[in-house]
């Protein structure tokens, strides 16, 4: 496990675990930090996390896959999250998603083959006043039209 020593990202996770006294209930906090540092939950890191917190592997995996926020595969360079909350739904979010699926041949949860763009869906970003909303690379875009989104995606893919 030489990576542990050389990869500084482990130190970030260690810091989180230390803050919680390496107790088993720090698992979710630890997973958050792993995802921030790596961008996803790498199986080797999960193994290391399980050992460090003295938890069974299957439990760590079970927790990691229970929550929507955690992803087990590397994500694309850019991300596009389409909100499918009620307000966005009523205001036409399904059309946006359909257009993206149609134009880019992507379905939610997928990343383009060139690892450029990941498409995700969300259950309400809580910005219903701006519905329909899409989060492009972490920035919330409100009252968005299907065309606006695909245009931006084409730019990313160009």
């Amino acid at each position: 496990m030489t990576t542990v020593k050389t990869d500084t990202r482990y130190k970030l996770v260690e810091a989180t675990l230390r803050r919680h006294g390496y107790s088993a209930n720090a698992l979710i906090e630890g997973l958050h930090t792993v995802q921030e540092a790596w961008g996803y939950l790498d199986p080797d890191v999960l193994r290391w996390l399980a050992r460090t917190l003295k938890l069974p592997m299957s439990k760590v995996y079970g927790v990691a896959t229970f929550y929507n926020r955690f992803v087990l595969k590397p994500q694309g360079e850019h991300s596009c999250v389409v909100c499918l909350g009620t307000a966005c739904y009523i205001k036409g979010a399904p059309n946006t998603l359909k257009k993206i699926e149609h134009d880019l041949h992507l379905t939610p949860g997928m990343t383009t083959a060139d690892q450029r763009v990941s498409l995700l869906k969300a259950r309400c970003m809580g910005s219903c006043g701006l519905a329909p909303v899409v989060v492009m690379d972490g920035t919330l875009v409100g009252k968005v039209s299907p065309e606006q989104v695909t245009e931006r995606l084409q730019e990313w893919l160009a």
Binding site: L27, K59, G62, I90, K91, C128, L130
Partner: protein, 553 residues
């Protein structure tokens, strides 16, 4: 020692007030999630630059505040000008909407002594403000949009932490509980359980290791609801103070705030607020020199609607899969790590300080016989003005939809209003004059819920709406119990048959039977309430289902 805190609060408050009184003009920019998405941060920077350029930095302050509620018209800002008094010697307040960084300097120019009357800002004056705010009563949101949520001093200057200070010095825990009980406050998470009763149960419960916990449920996952997020973003100290008072009343020394990962700004503001309160000695050991110890930790959710259910939330804080377990035992007896635990929702905690401060009599004077106080709603969907509102209990749906929100746009007709999110129901026009309170909403097959309110016009297909919510519940089901895990999938398939017009009369019977099964046999509230959108649309829009039956061969 106790006086020290009182002095500290007083000193902080007077220093802050003095500092603020130096400014005769204030520009308050909304820094809620919605306005920030519309570049309100850049607007604020532009304003600050303009203030300096115009050389009025000694009289004009640009301030960050929480959400005023008109989220669809952001970025919002408010100008308070003491140099001009309006009615009753109050300084003139003007609300502006849809301000861009380009328009921002014009606002500052209009505040300079040499300002000429200009029409440049006319388009940005918030016209709907009068009607939008007229019927509202702000208790929970009283500070939101008026104070800087990232400065504890501002909260203290507005009377913050006065309630906990007097509770710690003069009140017994029993008196606190009695006050909350008499105020008639009910849980704002949706079910409406009497808060005082819950507190009394936890206070009485025996803990084997002496520990008790307070949990603030900020896992607001209903699609179309963002009340709690706005409160946490706009007035985080209010939530902390409510938790402190609760902890004192029930004898807890540790608290947790559980916030959705989808609300990063709320989490950030709470983190800042907790740190500030710790530094001010308001959280930690021997608070205010008393024997009261209390600290709060923030826990970030990771995307699971079911974690709004209290036993699932506890499992999640314990670091596990957020799966509910059968109750009893209730968390009040055996909750976090097996200890008695009080779980209340964000809005519930935000109601506590004013009840202590202004007295339960005042609070009980607002609302209806069985539902006291106010309720915050996130009003969205097909209305002219959507946003965050706080109304007294007992107001009618018609007043909310037509008076506050201005009715239905695009010359369409009102069809239904959906409350309670995926656990609620669709309320048709015939109940528009019904008062909004826990009992009335339940009577018509919906629930108060946490406060999402979605208005639908006559272009809405109710079966698709029911299927939308069923898909939500199906995706969010934790998978532990059979009726919810499989029943929601089967319900979704049946609803799809109606949407595709391939359903048979036998499918309608199956649909109704399954709704009943899932409602009565699911383990937790998510499953038990999952059929509600179907049941209510079947009740009020049955003809739409019948029209979707496959023509018999």
């Amino acid at each position: 020692m106790q006086d020290e805190v009182a002095t500290l609060l007083e000193k902080t408050a007077s220093t802050e007030r003095m500092a603020q009184s130096r400014y005769s003009q204030r520009i308050q920019v909304c820094m809620g999630t919605a306005c920030m998405a519309l570049n309100s941060e850049q607007v604020k920077t532009a304003l600050e630059h303009a203030v300096i350029e115009n050389g009025i930095q000694k009289q004009c302050q640009v301030q960050r505040v929480g959400c005023p509620g008109l989220c669809s018209l952001g970025p919002m800002l408010r100008v308070i000008d003491k140099t001009i008094t309006a009615e009753a010697n109050e300084p003139r307040e003007t609300l502006y909407q849809q301000i861009t960084p380009e328009v921002a300097p014009a606002i500052v120019t209009s505040l300079t002594p040499a300002a000429q009357p200009t029409s440049a800002l006319d388009a940005h004056r918030c016209e709907v403000a009068d009607t939008f705010f007229k019927r509202q009563v702000k208790v929970v949101l009283e500070h939101c949009s008026h104070i800087d949520p990232e400065r504890i001093e501002d909260y203290i200057a507005h009377g913050g932490y006065r309630a906990i200070q007097s509770v710690l010095t003069e009140w017994t825990p029993q008196r606190v509980i009695d006050s909350i009980t008499k105020a008639g406050l009910r849980g704002r998470g949706g079910a409406g359980y009497p808060t005082g009763l819950k507190w009394a149960t936890v206070a009485k419960a025996n803990s084997s290791n002496g520990k008790k916990y307070v949990i603030c449920n900020g896992d607001e996952g209903d699609p179309g609801a963002y009340m709690d997020r706005s409160v946490m973003e706009g007035d985080p100290h209010r939530v902390i103070e409510g938790m402190m008072i609760a902890a004192y009343a029930i004898g807890a020394s540790q608290g947790y705030v559980y916030v959705r990962a989808e609300s990063p700004l709320a989490a950030k503001r709470l983190r800042v607020a907790i740190r500030q309160a710790q530094r001010a000695g308001l959280l930690g050991n021997n608070i205010a020199g008393s024997a009261f110890h209390f600290d709060i930790e923030l826990r970030l959710g990771a995307g699971a609607f079911v974690c709004g259910e209290e036993t699932a939330l506890i499992a999640s804080i314990e670091g596990g899969r957020g799966q509910p377990r059968p109750r009893p035992p209730y968390p009040a007896e055996s909750g976090l790590w097996g200890c008695p635990t009080l779980i209340n929702n964000v809005e519930t905690f935000a109601n506590i300080a004013p009840i202590i401060d202004k007295g339960w009599e005042w609070y009980a004077g607002i609302g209806t016989a069985k539902s006291k106080g106010t309720k915050v709603f996130a009003l969205t969907g097909q209305v002219k003005t959507s946003g965050l509102i706080e109304v007294p209990m007992g107001i009618t749906l018609r007043e909310i939809v037509f008076d506050i929100a201005g009715g239905i746009p695009n010359n369409r007709q009102f069809k239904a209003v959906q409350t309670g999110g995926p656990s609620g129901g669709c309320i048709p026009e015939k109940f528009l004059d019904m008062p909004v309170d826990y009992e009335s909403l339940a009577k018509v097959g919906s629930i108060m819920g946490s406060g999402g309110m979605i208005v639908m016009d006559d272009s809405t297909n109710m079966i698709e709406v029911a299927r939308f919510f069923m898909e939500f519940c199906m995706d969010e089901s934790c998978g532990k119990c059979v009726p919810c895990r499989v029943g929601t999938v089967q319900l979704h398939r049946l609803l799809s048959k109606f949407v595709d017009k391939t359903a048979t009369p036998a499918d309608l019977i199956k649909l109704e039977g399954l709704c009943k099964l899932v409602k009565h046999t699911s383990l937790c509230g998510l499953g038990q309430a999952a059929p509600n959108p179907v049941i209510s649309t079947l009740n009020y829009f049955r003809e739409e289902y019948e029209q979707c039956l496959k023509p018999s061969p």
